[in-house]
Structures are given as C-alpha cells and as structure tokens.
C-alpha cells in the first residue's frame, strides 16, 4: 500500500477496516466496487429469471410456471436488469473512474454517495419481496403487469404492486442522489486545467446521463405515487369513470422510460469513446462533435416518448410528430457510430477483449438502430407492436448497447482496479461465447415477432416452436457464459500478471489520461493535491 501519508489531523491515511469500511464508506473507489459487486449479483438473479422464462417458452403450453408467475418474472427480470444491473454497474464505473479521470480527490458529496448505493440493496429487498409475497395467501394477484405497470391492471393486482411502487421510490431517490453527486463532481471537482472539453468522453456521457436522471426520475416518482393513490385512497387519476385517463400513466411512464434507454446507453458510449482510441492507437475522431451529438441525443430523448404508445389512439398530428422525432434520433446515433468507425480507420488496431466488445457493439447496436427506425414508423409499428419483434429490438439495443459496453468497461478497467491483468484467452472465449449465444437467442425473435408472436404471454401457437427452441438454447448458452465471466473476474481479483500503471499501450491517446498516471491498483485516496493538466 503506497498511500501517501498526509496532511491535517482529520484525515487518516489508513483504510478503515471491517464492515465499517463498506457500510460507512465515504470513498469513491469502495463505493464503486460495491456498486459493481451489487450489479454482478443482480445480473445473476435477473439472469436466473430470464432462464426460467426461456425454459417455460421452450415448449408451447404450460410447463414450469403459472401464467401470473410468468408475467411477474417478466416484470422483475426487466426491473432488476435495468435498475439493479445496468444502472448500478454504470454508476459503479462512474464512481471509480470519474474522480480519477478529472483529478478530483473523491466525489463531491461522499456521504450522499454512500447513501445512494445502500438504498439499492434496500430497494432490491422490496422488489424481491414483491415477487415472493404472492406465495403468502391473501396477498392478491401477483404483479403480472410487465415493468411498465400500466393501469388499470396495476391498480387491480395485489400487495406486490405496493412493494414494487415503494421499491421504485427508493430506486428513484438513489438515482437522483447519485446523479446530483456525479453532475456536481464533474462541474466542480475538475483539477486545474481540466477544462470541460478536455474531459474523457466517459465523463461527458455521465454528465448527460446524470442530467437525464435528474429530470425524468421525479416524473416516474410522481406517476407511481398517483398509481398508489388510485390503488388505496380513492383517487381517479387513471380511471375514466372518475374523469381520469389510463393513457396518462403511459405518458408519464414513457416520459421517464424513453430517456431511461439513453441513461442505459450513454455510459456505454462513453466507454466506447475510450476503448476504441486505445486499441486503435489513434485519438478519438471528432471528439467535440461526439459531445454535441450526446447533447443532441439528451435533448431529443426527452421529447419522443410517445412512440411507445402509437396504438393507444393519439391524434394523427401527435403520432406524426413523435414519428419524425424518433426517426431524427438515428442522426446523432448514426454520427456517433461513424465517428467510432473513423477512429478505427487506419489505426494500428489490436483485438483485445474490450476492443472485440466495442466492435461488436458498433455492429449489433446498429442493427438495433435499424429495427428501431422500422418501429418508429407508425403504420409499421401498428403491426409490430407488442410482438417479439419489439423484444428482439430492445434486447439488441440494451445488450450490445448497454451491457456489452459494461463488459468492455470491465475488461478495460479491471487491470486498473485490481492491479492484475485478466486472462486474455479466457476473455476472448467469453466474448465469442456471449456474442454468438446472444445472437442465437435474440435473432430468431425478429422472425417469430414478424410472424405475430405476442410478448408477455406464457403460451404460444405451435407454429413458433422452432424459433423459440433456438432462442431458448441460445439463452441457456448465454446464461452459462456468465459463469465464465464470474470466474475471470474472481481470477483477476485474486492474482495474475502485474498490470502496471498503464496496462494498455494506447490508453492515454487523445485524453489527459490522469487515471493512468496513478498506480494499479490506485491508492485509497487518489490525489492529495490536485494534479495539473497541461
């Protein structure tokens, strides 16, 4: 441990020990680690739910779970993967890397940082009890609504919904606190000379992510609160008999839900903005435009939500507006993808695991972009709505777009976090295993969807059986590959080749690279005095 012994009497140079180090932590690296471990645990819980869903769908008819439990699993799989896995993993990376990248001693508000993490396990307990409470008699119908919890169904189901609503409240508080912290850190804690336009793209991506969460999370909180009042206090927000409107909830939900997609996506784009220059050994092509595109995406993402509800009967003018707005989104996204491709152009590319994931993202996320434009077109969407085509589309958007970005980040930064290199061979096996099995799982769902197979239904017509069996086999392989992921992580944490301060030859190209000037693993307190950026 080479932590520098320093300064005033209120600072201890040693790490706190025992459970207090973690439960009471005010250290961005420890909190980042907890976020990442939490995300990993949730990945396996949410993944187990996905395995159950795919096992049930291996054959038509009812085999393993009853329809209500099936729909509850679908609900919780989504919520756990979004709120429990992708967001915490991205927040963990933000916690670890942003202060090191911008030369800050820690996050701006370290105690609040701790609270935003520890709210997550509390929310997870509530969320899992909303799943388990159905096994207690007298608690009503399980949460069979899907993660969108649309009324009137969500007003009618049992006690699980209340637990879920309060879980969403805690998750919202956690996200807002984390976002306030990250945005404040970025605006206020940069080292001298670290101007906004020198910040690594990952920092920029989290800046916009934080702003999005500050804006949209309160809207979701308001929506689910109204739902709660409709359920228990006799209000009629979502009941037309009392003058309300169930469609309003869809507007509120998707005003949150659509920007949420960018919340999941942007941090991965930030990771790409570091991984691709590193392994192409070339500065990022068009850094400033990339920042502007992300800003454009942020703004546009806030005003296109209703493309999730084309079928509810909005007027022609409204659907047309949302259709055009949605198609416009392909412009900044497409430009970002071209920027990444031009970064690779004529670079000295090597294909380490993070780079393999980065290239896979560019390919497969573009594919999701193409199906996204198909879904954005109103007359076409009326056919695709609520079919497996949509399921295939958003899994292509979220697994390559968000999850693979996190994998790239994990492999890219594991040497920095642990001080050890991971096993490159195993990393590559993991890459090919996940990528192939992912495509095996979700590619056939485009076809079953176009053929008309509906989402969120436990049973299906016998004509879809081949597609579903291929999908299920792919899903089991995809699920299994994560055991290798876990093994690689544990192996790297426990030992391996020394990583050195800068494990990647091209790591510093085009960014100030403060994080690579620290040893691996970095000392408990990164900077005692702020480093200066030339």
């Amino acid at each position: 441990m080479n932590a520098v012994i320093h300064e005033t009497d209120h600072h201890h140079d040693h790490k706190p020990t025992g459970y207090k180090r973690w439960l009471y932590s005010t250290n961005h690296k420890d909190i980042g680690t907890m976020y990442l471990v939490f995300a990993l645990v949730m990945l396996f819980i949410g993944g187990a739910m996905a395995m159950l869903i795919r096992a049930e769908l291996y054959m038509p008819g009812l085999q393993i779970v009853n329809p209500d439990l099936y729909n509850n699993l679908v609900t919780d799989h989504a919520l756990i993967m979004i709120f429990g896995m992708v967001m915490p993993a991205a927040a963990g990376m933000a916690n670890w890397m942003i202060p090191m990248m911008i030369g800050a001693p820690d996050m701006a508000l370290p105690r609040m940082n701790n609270m935003s993490f520890w709210l997550l396990p509390a929310a997870a307990i509530l969320l899992l009890s909303s799943l388990l409470v159905q096994f207690i008699p007298g608690t009503g119908v399980p949460v069979n609504t899907g993660w969108t919890i649309y009324p009137p169904l969500s007003v009618q189901v049992g006690m699980g919904m209340d637990l879920l609503i309060f879980s969403v409240h805690l998750l919202g508080i956690s996200s807002i606190m984390a976002s306030i912290n990250i945005v404040t850190t970025i605006l206020n804690m940069r080292a001298p000379g670290m101007t906004m336009m020198k910040m690594p793209l990952f920092v920029w991506s989290w800046f916009f992510t934080g702003l999005l969460l500050i804006i949209v999370m309160p809207v979701l909180a308001g929506g689910v609160t109204m739902l709660l009042f409709d359920r228990h206090f006799g209000t009629s927000f979502f009941d037309a008999a009392g003058g309300g409107d169930p469609i309003l909830f869809q507007h509120l939900f998707w005003f949150f839900g659509h920007p949420e997609v960018y919340v999941l996506l942007l941090p991965s784009i930030g990771v790409l903005g570091l991984v691709i220059p590193t392994f192409s050994r070339k500065p990022l092509f068009g850094y400033k435009p990339l920042v502007y595109f992300m800003g454009f995406l942020f703004a546009l993402g806030l005003v296109v939500w209703a493309h999730h509800q084309y079928t509810v009967g909005m007027s022609l003018a409204v659907t047309t507006y949302f259709m055009i707005g949605t198609i416009l989104i392909s412009i900044p996204i497409g430009l970002m993808i071209f920027n990444f491709i031009f970064t690779m152009w004529r670079g000295s590319i090597t294909f380490e695991t993070p780079m393999l994931f980065a290239i896979a993202i560019i390919l497969m996320f573009s594919f999701a972009g193409v199906t996204g434009v198909m879904l954005a077109v109103v007359p076409a969407d009326l056919q695709y709505h609520d079919t497996y085509f949509v399921v295939a589309h958003f899994h292509y958007a979220l697994i390559p777009g968000a999850v693979f970005g996190l994998y790239a980040g994990v492999f890219y930064w594991l040497p920095k976090w642990t001080g050890h290199m991971y096993d490159e061979k195993l990393g590559k096996i993991f890459f090919w295993w996940t990528t192939l099995s992912f495509n095996l799982t979700f590619f056939p769902q485009h076809f079953s969807g176009l053929a008309g197979m509906p989402r969120r239904i436990v049973d299906y017509n016998i004509q879809y059986i081949e597609f579903n069996q291929v999908s299920s086999i792919g899903a089991f392989a995809f699920g299994l590959s994560h055991l290798l992921f876990l093994y690689i992580i544990i192996q790297t944490v426990r030992g391996g080749k020394e990583a050195g301060a800068k494990p990647w030859e091209g790591a510093q190209i085009g960014t100030p690279g403060l994080e690579w000037s620290l040893p691996s693993p970095p000392p408990f307190h990164s900077y005692t005095t702020p480093p200066e950026v030339k």
Binding site: K20, N188, M226, G243
Partner: protein, 293 residues
C-alpha cells in the same frame, strides 16, 4: 499551488459515517411500513413509526455533524460550491416533480376530458358514457358508482387568496432577513426569519382549515373524481413541501440566533431560502391553475 493554505486547498472528504446507512434503514422501514399498512398488515404502522423515528434521529445526527464541520471551518470554497450546486440540482428535480402534476392537470383539462366529452374524432364518450358533458371543475362524473359527487368546487377567493398574500409576504421577510445577514445585523436576520416562520405556520394552519372545510362542507374529497384527485395531489404535495420548508426555516432560525452564520459563510441559510422561494413559486402556479382558472 503550494502557496495556498492547506485548509483552502484541501477538499474536505468526511471520515466514514454511519448516517447514510441509518438513513437507508429509516427510509426502508418507513416505506415497508406504508406498503404493509395499506394492505392491512398489523406490523405496518409500527414499521413506519420505527422508520420515522430513525429518520428523525438521522436528521439530528447527520445535520449535527455537518454543522459541527462547518463551524470548525473544515469546508473550503470548493465544498461550499458543491453544496450550492447539489442544492440547485435537487431543486431542479423537485421542479420536475411538480411539473409532472401540473402537466397531468393540463392533460386532463385540455386533452383527455374534452375528448371524453365528445370533442374531436377520437371521442369515446358515446361508446362509454353517453351524454357526459365536460366542464371544469368536473362536478358531474362520467360514472359516479365508485366516487362521491362534489357539492361545490373550491373558488379562488377567501383562504387561497389570503394564502397567496401570506406566502408572497414570507418571501419578502426572508429576503429582508438575508439583507440583515449581509450587513451583519443579527437582529434583522432573526426577526426576518421569525416572521417568515410565523407566516409559514400560518399558511399551514389555513391550508389545514381549508382541507377541513372542503371535506366537511364542499364534499370535495380524494374520492370525488378527477377534480378532487388533482386538487389534493397538487395542493397536498405543495403543503408537504411548505411543511418541510418551515421545519428547515426553524432550524435556520435557531442557528441564526446562535450566531452560526457570517457574511461569507451561510450556505445553509441560502439553501433554505432557495427552497422557500421555490415552494413560493409553485404556489403561484397552484393559485392560477388550480384555484383560479
């Protein structure tokens, strides 16, 4: 950089603290209790009470620590900026929370209810409730089976008008107190804050009386259809925020009386003042869109 003093240069990183974990426990038991309570589980109210007690303990503990740190000059200008920016973003998120409810009101009044009343090509009223006529406030509901009818809607005169004057005046007294702080006049600061607190309490009392009046005489309840729902959701969350703001003002009043603030170092005062002005502005929106128009 080395010429700077240590205190000014070092950003204060707090020691490991138990308060965040205490806060999580408090929130967890509070909301778990609500969920159980609403479903008639006996443990619910106790869980909420335990959670609430933990939260009160938390507020004393955490803010106590922060006040100690502030008084012992551990915060440099960087920490001060972080607090200000943090408060700014917190109020931003609160603004969007209220925008949600205002947007819902707009949606009901201009989109969904006119449509239910037969306007536009998407009208559903002829299929669902023939003859439903839309007018705001909605006194005659499409289907009254599960709801109660309003006897009389809430008007803009009387209590709401007094409340508007009270809140606007409280904004003035608070600013006057701030001027006192800036010219280091302890008495002006304390008197201004005390007047603000008194006006805040007066507002809450009037609002409580108004709710009582609405429930007992106007038949305006949470259960009286969309007008009652939006009325109580908007004014209720606002009233909750005013209550929080008043508690914050009382804390600041006590701290001012103890002489905690100086001309340069008074973020806590400003944070609370921003918050108070924010609830003030929300009230103006409420007065116009809920009571008046």
């Amino acid at each position: 950089m080395s010429t700077n003093t240590t205190a000014e240069q070092d950003y204060f990183i707090p020691e490991p603290s138990r308060w965040p974990a205490v806060g999580v426990a408090g929130l967890f038991f509070t909301v778990l209790g609500f969920a159980l309570w609403m479903n008639g589980v006996g443990f619910g109210p106790y869980s909420t009470m335990i959670g609430g007690a933990i939260l009160i303990y938390l507020l004393f503990g955490w803010f106590g620590d922060v006040i100690d740190e502030s008084l012992t000059n551990k915060y440099n200008s960087g920490v001060d900026r972080s607090f200000r920016q943090g408060m700014f973003w917190f109020i931003t998120s609160e603004v969007f929370f209220f925008i949600t409810f205002f947007a819902c009101l707009y949606y009901f009044r201009n989109i969904s209810l006119p449509s239910l009343g037969g306007e536009g090509h998407l009208a559903t009223s002829n299929i669902l409730w023939e003859g439903f006529k839309y007018s705001w406030p909605v006194v005659n509901l499409p289907d009254v089976t599960n709801y109660t009818q309003i006897i009389e809607p809430m008007g803009p005169g009387g209590i709401p008008a007094y409340n508007t004057i009270i809140l606007l005046t409280s904004g003035v007294t608070l600013t006057w107190a701030h001027w006192g702080l800036k010219k280091e006049s302890q008495s002006q600061l304390v008197i201004g804050l005390a007047m603000t607190v008194a006006l805040g309490l007066f507002f809450i009392a009037l609002q409580a009386y108004e709710y009582f009046h609405a429930y007992t005489e106007l038949g305006l309840t949470l259960n009286s259809g969309i007008y009652g729902s939006t009325f109580y959701m908007l004014t209720g969350f606002h009233g909750f925020h005013v209550t929080l703001g008043t508690v914050m003002l009382i804390v600041i009043l006590i701290r001012s009386a103890k002489g905690h603030f100086s001309e340069e170092n008074h973020f806590a005062f400003e944070g609370v003042a921003w918050y108070w002005h924010f609830v003030d502005v929300v009230w103006l929106g409420l007065y116009v869109f809920v009571y008046w128009l």
